[in-house]
């Protein structure tokens, strides 16, 4: 049997031999059409280049810049100088940009009290103001999920809730941000190692190394990563000039970003911006390796859980409850107190609160007044 050809039959070999010396009309058409088609395909593939904005192109220094972990101190200084000049050029503000390193013997942990969170979203907007996120389109690291009381079903959750007042009595509120996992799926999927976990537990991104493939966004079970689809817009008067290389320096179109526990603040001993804005003290931050820190106390004494424990990410972000929730007065006690007030008159009013309380408890448990006072 001769060689098998799929589309030309047995005479193809002679056909080709003919073509080389004396092209037929058919072979001319075929090759010509293929060439035109190829050119057209190339043009079509290149057509998105027309949309390339010269601003999107990196300058030579940025293009040649090494990965964060490979940069020497001198190279980092040069990179910081370049960013400083860029920011000054773009926003007219001279930033104090630096590269704070992780502290020894420190592992950051966040704890959030679900009994106290009222869903006011102050943390969300304090974070945006601190970390120079794009204002329009809007990028926010924290998502406050409103869920019906008695459930913990994020599928039924809503983060777009728009109520005249919070908290709503039928719902509870659960802010979700980057959990800084000890076993981070987002780091594993990054094809270029543009994101990694630092020794203090914070997962960071080198914005100059990120290629914008969004694999990490898909891998994150906490919806924590955000992508800059468009050139981030940030009014110059809202720029926070207190910035660092790995955290809140201005980002470009096409890179990923996420919460980094405000590392430019926390690595210098300060609190994260979301914690400072919280009006209820529901947010707690600290060093889990310090047994006296607030987060260590919470892990020791409170009922703590992590979100989606079953996915095995080992988050450094814990949710906890207080003993009693909601924090209200027992309505029965109020009724009894009112009865006592009527019976005893001013004598009840003149009692100090402890004695009145004992009386109410006694009445509630069925004892007579004489028994209690004796």
């Amino acid at each position: 049997m001769k060689d098998v050809r799929i589309w030309d039959g047995p005479s193809a070999a002679t056909d080709e031999a003919q073509t080389a010396s004396n092209p037929t009309r058919r072979s001319f058409l075929r090759i010509g059409a293929a060439a035109v088609g190829g050119m057209a395909a190339l043009a079509a593939a290149l057509s998105p280049l027309r949309e390339l904005d010269p601003e999107d192109l990196p300058d030579v220094e940025e293009f040649l810049q090494k990965h964060y972990k490979e940069m020497t101190a001198v190279e980092m200084e040069a990179a910081l100088a370049r960013i400083r000049a860029n920011v000054a050029d773009r926003f007219g503000v001279e930033p104090t940009i630096r590269d704070p390193k992780p502290l020894d013997g420190v592992e950051f942990v966040y704890a959030l009290n679900l009994s106290r969170c009222i869903g006011c979203r102050k943390c969300v907007h304090a974070c945006v103001a601190e970390n120079n996120q794009s204002r329009s389109p809007e990028i926010q690291y924290i998502r406050v999920i409103e869920m019906p009381r008695g459930t913990l079903d994020v599928e039924k959750g809503d983060h777009h809730y728009d109520r005249p007042q919070v908290p709503d009595t039928a719902h509870f509120y659960m802010p979700v941000q980057c959990h800084q996992c000890a076993n981070p799926p987002c780091v594993k999927v990054c094809p270029v190692e543009a994101t990694w976990q630092e020794p203090d537990g914070i997962t960071v991104i080198d914005y100059d190394w990120c290629i914008g493939c969004r694999y990490c966004e898909a891998a994150c079970p906490y919806w924590a990563r955000r992508f800059n689809f468009a050139q981030p817009s940030l009014p110059a008067d809202e720029l926070n000039p207190d910035m660092s290389y790995l955290s809140n320096r201005p980002r470009e179109r096409g890179v990923m970003e996420k919460c980094h526990f405000c590392l430019h603040r926390t690595r210098e001993g300060r609190m994260p911006a979301c914690l400072e804005a919280c009006p209820t003290g529901a947010r707690k931050f600290g060093n889990v390796l310090d047994s006296k820190s607030e987060v260590s106390e919470i892990l020791k004494t409170k009922r703590v859980f992590v979100l989606k424990e079953e996915v095995g990410t080992l988050p450094r972000f814990f949710y906890y409850f207080d003993e009693r929730y909601p924090n209200t007065i027992d309505p029965e006690a109020l009724v009894i107190a009112e009865q006592l007030r009527e019976e005893e008159g001013d004598a009840f009013g003149a009692m100090d609160v402890g004695a009145a309380g004992r009386l109410v408890i006694a009445r509630a448990s069925g004892m007579s007044t004489e028994e209690t006072c004796a």
Partner: protein, 250 residues
């Protein structure tokens, strides 16, 4: 194997065989695509939601309320006065008396704790009184509150209740744990509702309104499927019940 090899009648129509057709159609297709791409508008317009502005005031870093200084003083008719400036001259009403003639802006909503002298020392108004009738300065307010709110006081001491500002470093002199009255109004300690700051409007997050419980079926295919399944099973149960009842009472 090509049929033309065995069937001489097909040899003449080789110009129309599948390969040639494909060879012509593909470039033509590419050409059409190319034309479409080049005719498309050069810039993809991304619809952007109007941004929601948040006043810096709303997210300022400071305690929720300003507690009275120690020793306390308030403005009376625009003049800053210590408490005892008046209280050592004028006698206070009886402890059982609740209608306030002065300080009538104070809203008292502290549960059954509704007498001034439960907390304020009747003789020295610049100090607070404990249940054993010893007095403490205003700066030690948490000790007063701890008499009733024991578990919360214990949590506050550990740092698991309340707010800490300044630094997360436990040994840092900047670390400061706020007192009870820097978040709670001692006269009405329950938090009043807040107006929430604007909800997110990210294009990626889809339309505003989210997945509410009521219209979950509209949005989620799973919910739609479940609802349909529930409806069918309810219908079949009803049918079965109907048949059964017919069987019993023909």
């Amino acid at each position: 194997m090509n049929r033309s090899q065995f069937d001489p009648s097909l040899k003449k129509s080789r110009v129309l065989n599948a390969g040639t057709m494909l060879g012509l159609a593909l470039p033509l297709g590419f050409g059409a695509l190319c034309f479409a791409f080049l005719m498309a508008p050069s810039r993809v317009s991304i619809p952007l939601a109007a941004r929601s502005r948040v006043p810096a005031e709303a997210i300022a870093n400071r305690p929720r309320r300003v507690a009275l200084a120690d020793p306390p003083h308030i403005a009376v008719d625009g003049v800053d006065q210590n408490c005892n400036a008046c209280h050592q001259i004028f006698a206070s009403a009886s402890p059982a008396h609740t209608a306030l003639e002065f300080h009538n802006t104070v809203v008292l909503a502290h549960g059954m704790n509704d007498r001034c002298v439960n907390c304020h020392d009747p003789t020295d108004r610049e100090r607070l009184v404990l249940r054993d009738e010893s007095t403490i300065p205003f700066a030690e307010t948490p000790r007063l509150c701890s008499q009733c709110h024991g578990t919360v006081y214990r949590d506050w001491q550990r740092g698991t209740h309340g707010k800490t500002l300044g630094s997360w470093i436990t040994s840092s002199p900047q670390q400061r744990r706020l007192g009870c009255n820097e978040c709670h109004d001692p006269h009405a300690p329950k938090y009043t509702p807040y107006v929430p700051l604007p909800s997110p409007h990210t294009l990626r997050m889809g339309e505003q309104g989210g997945v509410h419980e009521i219209d979950a079926a509209k949005v989620s295919p799973l919910q739609r499927h479940l609802q349909e399944a529930r409806r069918l099973s309810a219908a079949s149960r009803k049918k079965a019940a109907h048949q059964q009842s017919e069987g019993v009472h023909p």
